[in-house]
Assembly symmetry: C2
Homo-oligomer: 321 residues x 2
């Protein structure tokens, strides 16, 4: 299927498909773990399970998914045990209940070969970026950036497009993600899709958990980071030689930052303009991904294609001959 | 001279010296540049020059030190020209008017060999950390972290101890900086002193501007960074193999952060406790340095000694046989 995501309209412009979730029940089940921040509202998990059920997914919740220790979903030991249990249970998909903070310091204690060997399909976002990137760096295995139980499926109002993109991605039925991108540079490339939350990507620079990707397609988003911080993080990726080795930089949403009077005209567009003149890599804007209600489900570590044409960008996710 | 810095009391516990600034006029002059954020109040520069004059320092202001472009003290080109002019003028000390943000993206355009060959004594803080570290990484030359014109010498109320420590350091008369450090690990080591603002240090990990220091004494401070961000940055230094190669980690002030209800007991002490159990390197607390009125002037890239005893820490800065 081809899916066109219009950020605000949520409309499906391709009328050659409809969603018949109950007619296409998936045998796939989802196991929920909390490797990062504590779940503050257990009811959001119940709501998420109900919504995922309506999409055709069975769900199970890890026994420490609702644990609380300081700001974390349990102690380091509890969160590591949850990850270990996720590898051994029966459901093929493992979803993080939410992001927050907590995976960074667990990275050395995770058995990455076991994670890859489990064959599980991991999905999360934000803090989960370091899980996906470390898995890719250590084993080459791919995972997904996408919606989480608490913030998406457990939200008061679930976004239908986000749910549809997730379900199609999990069933590997989403071939092309098309989105409005009026000011993108011209690009028609193929490469490994990778990235996620910019702060988390930047936090891995110089460590063994950073994938060494040449000719990749790097996607980035962030929340509540001032444009000067966004630029500083991009500068780190640039100085580390990472940006110039990519075939395209795909920008998702950078939301919820606050400018000050002394910014004096400096804003996110200044950063993107600087990025374009400094790093000679095509920049694609408008990716429907970030700390936003509408978010695509994106593979991290998979070969994809990216092309722009007539104010639209097309991310080729699955190829069927 | 031996100087004991009590953060809040500002008292001098060693009565074997007094400050006679006017009786010991220094021939040293200070050249002021603005490589980072724009100076919002030019009067603060005038006040700083007056105060520095009273300390025995002649001053000169670079012609673009008051330039403004967006949030920066002039365009990249203007700020780079200011740095280049600083190398060629007559005054031996070059002081940043303030921090902010702006040096990161200039790093590849600075002639580091020329900076080192100039023999100038550079001093700044915060954003200036990347200047000091890049200079050290590229040339081995040392510089200073310490007070700046706008925030210290140009402040409505200048801190006397900060001024005294600066003047003594510039004259290389400060032999030992002693400070209260009741919960420090026991340490008696020598090594290269380096570090500065944690966010800026972390922003260089994985780049060629990061000094490769084995057996160093790493000092860190930050402002307005939540403890989870402080921990994440420390984690990056840990994962990059930097922390475990140091002989001591010396913590300055981490100020102006805001906890949230969901931190649920997680705070800076949690981070320091985690650091101690995770990274087996002695941690020394209480360094009078940071985004605080009282701040020491500290060499970056110089061999120093650090020792703790009876709730005090002693940083041996100059050795005279």
């Amino acid at each position: 299927m081809t899916h066109a995501a219009h950020d605000h309209a949520h409309e499906h412009t391709h009328d050659d498909h409809e969603h018949h979730h109950h007619e296409h029940p998936s045998p796939a089940g989802i196991y929920l773990i909390s490797p990062s921040g504590a779940v503050s509202d257990p009811l959001s998990i119940e709501l998420a399970r109900q919504r995922l059920g309506e999409l055709g997914f069975k769900t199970a919740v890890d026994r420490s998914a609702l644990a609380v220790h300081e700001r974390f979903a349990g102690t380091d030991k509890q969160r590591l045990a949850g990850i270990a249990r996720a590898l051994k249970q029966k459901h093929p998909i493992v979803m993080a209940t939410r992001g927050g903070y907590g995976l960074s310091r667990l990275l050395p204690a995770i058995d990455w070969a076991a994670v890859a060997d489990s064959g599980k399909i991991f999905i999360g976002q934000s803090d989960f970026t370091v899980f996906s990137l470390a898995l890719l760096a250590k084993t080459g295995a791919s995972s997904f950036a996408g919606p989480t139980a608490v913030y998406d499926f457990g939200a008061k109002k679930m976004d239908d497009l986000t749910a549809a993109l997730f379900a199609e991605s999990m069933r590997r039925e989403l071939e092309v993600l098309s989105f409005e991108s009026p000011d993108s540079d011209a690009v028609d490339e193929r490469g490994i899709l990778w990235g996620g939350n910019l702060a988390m990507v930047a936090s891995l620079v110089g460590t063994s958990y950073m994938p060494d990707i040449d000719g990749g397609i790097l996607f980035l988003e962030d929340i509540a980071e001032h444009p000067f911080r966004i630029e500083r993080m991009l500068t780190q990726l640039w100085h580390a030689g990472i940006l110039t080795r990519q075939k395209a930089i795909v920008l998702g949403r950078f939301t919820d930052y606050r400018l000050a009077a002394h910014d004096n005209g400096f804003d996110l567009p200044s950063v993107i303009a600087w990025l374009r003149t400094t790093v000679k890599v095509p920049v694609v804007t408008g990716l429907p991904y970030g700390h936003t209600r509408v978010k695509a489900t994106l593979p991290i570590g998979k070969q994809v294609g990216i092309a722009t044409e007539d104010g639209m960008a097309h991310l080729l996710l699955e190829e069927h001959s």
